[in-house]
Symmetry: C2
């Protein structure tokens, strides 16, 4: 999660909402990403979605078996849906998202038994650091 926070900081430095994600398989980092929506004009360019695409490309398989995705903010509906589609078995996130969180807050798409894949979810890891980074970013942007 420390590496994911570093990615989030890199995003903040260029004016992107500071969310970072890392995908790890057997101790090896397959992908690291931060939000890129503003720089790419791509509404799907969330850290998790980018990391999933990079990780799948790096192993040449759309199934991200035996991986863990670490992300500094609770995934939204799009990213939670992508996590399920990619069969990621474990997600660790830092702070929850009261506005759009789909991994337990507004929805719980990662653990819905009607879908064909469920995810082991851990939350709260380095939550204070991530929350502080997000608040500071939005405070600076308003001022």
């Amino acid at each position: 999660m420390r590496k994911a926070l570093e990615m989030a900081c890199q995003g903040a430095a260029i004016g992107e909402v500071p969310v970072g994600a890392i995908i790890v398989k057997e101790g090896m980092v397959l992908a690291r990403a931060h939000n890129q929506r503003e720089h790419t004009n791509d509404p799907t360019a969330h850290a998790e979605l980018i990391a999933i695409r990079v990780a799948a490309s790096s192993i040449g398989d759309w199934r991200l078996i035996d991986t863990t995705l670490y992300v500094t903010l609770e995934p939204c509906s799009m990213c939670s849906g992508a996590i399920v589609l990619a069969r990621i078995p474990r997600v660790v996130y830092a702070t929850s998202d009261p506005k759009a969180g789909a991994a337990g807050t507004l929805f719980n798409l990662l653990q819905d038994k009607r879908l064909n894949h469920q995810v082991d979810v851990t939350q709260g890891v380095l939550a204070a650091e991530s929350s502080r980074l997000l608040k500071s970013f939005f405070r600076d942007r308003r001022s």
Copy 2:
């Protein structure tokens, strides 16, 4: 929707699950896509997500204001989330998806008042044709 079905057929011809999507703005087609998961090894390569990325790139804005997305199958959670993120105002889909549909069947992410954008949804347009195409694809794949 006829154009979206043509895209779905193109997908089927190369072994992809036959789902097609078109994004239209003021009568002009901004993007057309079919599923590409198998060929790209990208778990996020659903027709809608690809079309959204192409459309945003073509207009240079992540907000797809005044657009309509036509898709031959009810969007999943990932694609519904992306539709909300891209602020697409209207979605028309052909047939519903009992296994993963997130635009009214399993979830209704497009019209959830807690999110910061709601979508006008029309369903059932050329539903029989789309359903027939999907069933035929999966029947052929099993045989």
